[in-house]
Symmetry: C2
Subunit: 341 residues, 2 copies
Amino acid sequence: VPPPTGERAERRPASAVDEDVLTARLRARLGSAPDGELWSGDDAAVLRPPAGSLLVTTDMLVEGVDFESAWASPADVGWKSIAVNASDIAAMGGAPRHAVTAVGLGTSTPGALVDGLADGMIEAATTYAVALVGGDLSRAPRLTVAVAMTGEVDAGGAVPRSGARPGDALCVTGSLGGAAGGLVALRRHGAGPDLGPPLARLAQRQLRPRARVAEGRALRSAGASAMIDLSDGLAVDLARLVAASGVGCEVDVAALPLDDDLQALGSGPEADPIRLAVVGGEDFELLCALAPELLGDACARVEECGTALTQIGEVTRGGARLGGVDLDEWRERGWDHLRAP
Amino acid sequence: VPPPTGERAERRPASAVDEDVLTARLRARLGSAPDGELWSGDDAAVLRPPAGSLLVTTDMLVEGVDFESAWASPADVGWKSIAVNASDIAAMGGAPRHAVTAVGLGTSTPGALVDGLADGMIEAATTYAVALVGGDLSRAPRLTVAVAMTGEVDAGGAVPRSGARPGDALCVTGSLGGAAGGLVALRRHGAGPDLGPPLARLAQRQLRPRARVAEGRALRSAGASAMIDLSDGLAVDLARLVAASGVGCEVDVAALPLDDDLQALGSGPEADPIRLAVVGGEDFELLCALAPELLGDACARVEECGTALTQIGEVTRGGARLGGVDLDEWRERGWDHLRAP
């Protein structure tokens, strides 16, 4: 069955387009498998195994929960679905390899949405060197995109959450608060051309998060003892890291690398840069612990990726505090509160 | 944070239960990772790579589309989410290895639902020797379960859809129509105790599909040239196999191994056993092509798994027909029509 083309096809709802036709249309846009591999078009993808350890992760994005169609374009959603999984692989110090996608589409989904979704996925997959090797299309009440990604890391070389030791430096890549600030900007102004450059940059941090893949590999090489990506906010993810490691922490609020563009949000309790940085979530920066004597080398390696590495505190024997306040207390002001409609 | 226990916890909506608490509760029920592996609880699972080829597949189940909560228990949904993915691995002739699950829960989801879902997933994972190694919990308007599964097959040994050659015998494992017949029975009578044994068995075929993992490996060893699992109905999946192989087929309707229990459905156009077998879908039997001289050995190997293998027709040079009717015509009476609410 040849894929439908032209205007008529674009206006047809996805449900009226045969699953095989849509799949074929998407498949034609993906790369081809190397010899000995078999990608989309069979019951499962057939892949060469990695030489080191195999990494596997999954994340699902649901319309109205993880994104709003009012401001996130289909391409934004496609990008984010790949980037958030690549971020999980990055947080282990690994390199992404392959992704499979399960997409649920409403019955009135236009074909253009499917193409936009594919645009964003392909753009992110190209950026992070991930091959899109298969998927599943079905119906859902709201657009739902579940991606599972494989990655690779030298055997024994994955950086877990659980390796932090008292005395380690706690560091983050890049800057914090931008993604949550972007959400504030989008809620206030929408995604239109009214956003000036600083707010538009914040919106991009929300809509097009970057996975710190090169930085994660650099931090693994530099000897990071523990690592996690900041998906649910520093307070929540730092609590996870110290709990998994059985340690405590003391973070200096003044040391947090706040996103410069947050100034443009002006005042209002929802625009407080520290709150956005600590409980906002979705920055997808890496938080790591590493022995203090490794810090200089680690900073240099991360800078080679074009990204800053900032020490924000240190690992202690017990008591998890940020600015002298218990992380549990910060957590209660966390992601869910900010995200609630 | 200790997991909540007792009645109070059970009545709390899942959204009121911290994601980490739920995750910890589920994790406590899973097996532990062998030395050198890291399962749930980090950003990604860390696994030993397979010796042969790596298989990866994904399938998503959505409430109201792929199952109805009126008759499918949470454990049924959990079982099916694993079984349908294991079936994809089986259709390559592979062995399932690991699964990651992305689950979207409504805000009013009781904790008991999450436990039931885990019950079914763990039961299926045990049956098919799959390790549940990680996942992602989020909110969704309807219960949504996306599973991605890895598998393993000897390098170069995966059985694709595309290898069928003119003259090959076309065979199916087990019996056909039972799962769609079960849907008819459930729609007529619900899932209650009113279902007599034959209808209850049909309902089980719908609610608890079996993945033909051992049979798939036996057929690979026996030299099957092409294979696919029957998820969308014989007409649809056979059309996929012959299209991928660039061949045709002639299937004898009288040779179809109809599920014996379909007799118990009585009359009515929706209860016609042949229609259920050809366009019903979700039987998750395997359809394969193999050279006629291999047929005897293949039957013997599949019988060792406790399952019949039945020749239903043969591969031709062109023209895809079933009972003298073009597959396209059968497809138009297919799965979507039957499944439409």
